[in-house]
Symmetry: C2
DNA sequence: CGTTTCTACAACCATGTGGTTGTACGTTAG
DNA sequence: CTAACGTACAACCACATGGTTGTAGAAACG
């Protein structure tokens, strides 16, 4: 989880994810898109890969980067859980208020 | 967004979020739950507050921490968007395959 | 009143992070 | 074969982060 959210906590990496979800890119193809060194982009891709947000596949001398839903869905599960907990609390509070209503 | 995901990228902070979504805690009440200094927990709460995952309200000499859904939902929106993009690509690929089918 | 409790904040330290450059190696093109 | 391309990785730097301790102020307690 740490790696997952850490990976998403950078604008460049979120942009990479958005791009590779739409189409395939080589690492150098991605590097062209940003105003930073190839090595920097390479590191970003590595971070995304460790977080299961992206996968790489060797094709000739290029390394093709694809978007993976695994990471996205895992992160979503946690947020859904938070929302569920919150709604439970709210409804519990409403129940208590309803009991008070009964007593009036 | 950076602040949001950055805030979620720490196990202690995620635990704090989970706790305050269920019930209210004072900052010192939260600090008791963890094996670290009060100041450390205070910093975590501050990070969560800047990310709209938590809100504080003064009550007497205590500061009450509550869970906020704002941040959670904002993060979810991005992940939903990623999932939407991904499904669009998949269905586009399926359309292309279907066209190929037509030609056979 | 004085003392305790809860909070805020600054200073400090070790480590991690995002960026750089440089080097090395496999693969394709001429 | 040689040159160019795409990649991997190490070393380095500036700065952020997660933790500590210490100090100080505001609110509650006796």
């Amino acid at each position: 989880m740490d790696r997952l959210f850490q990976a998403l906590a950078d604008a460049t990496r979120r942009d990479i994810v958005a791009r590779v979800l739409v189409a395939e890119y080589s690492v150098s193809g991605l590097a062209e898109q940003y105003d930073m060194s190839f090595a920097a982009v390479q590191k970003h891709v590595a971070v995304l890969e460790r977080a299961s947000l992206v996968s790489k596949e060797k094709r000739g001398r290029e390394q093709i980067v694809r978007g993976e839903l695994d990471g996205v869905q895992e992160a979503r599960r946690l947020l859904d859980e938070y929302e569920r907990i919150w709604r439970q609390r709210v409804s519990r509070i409403e129940d208590i208020l309803a009991e008070d209503e009964d007593r009036t």
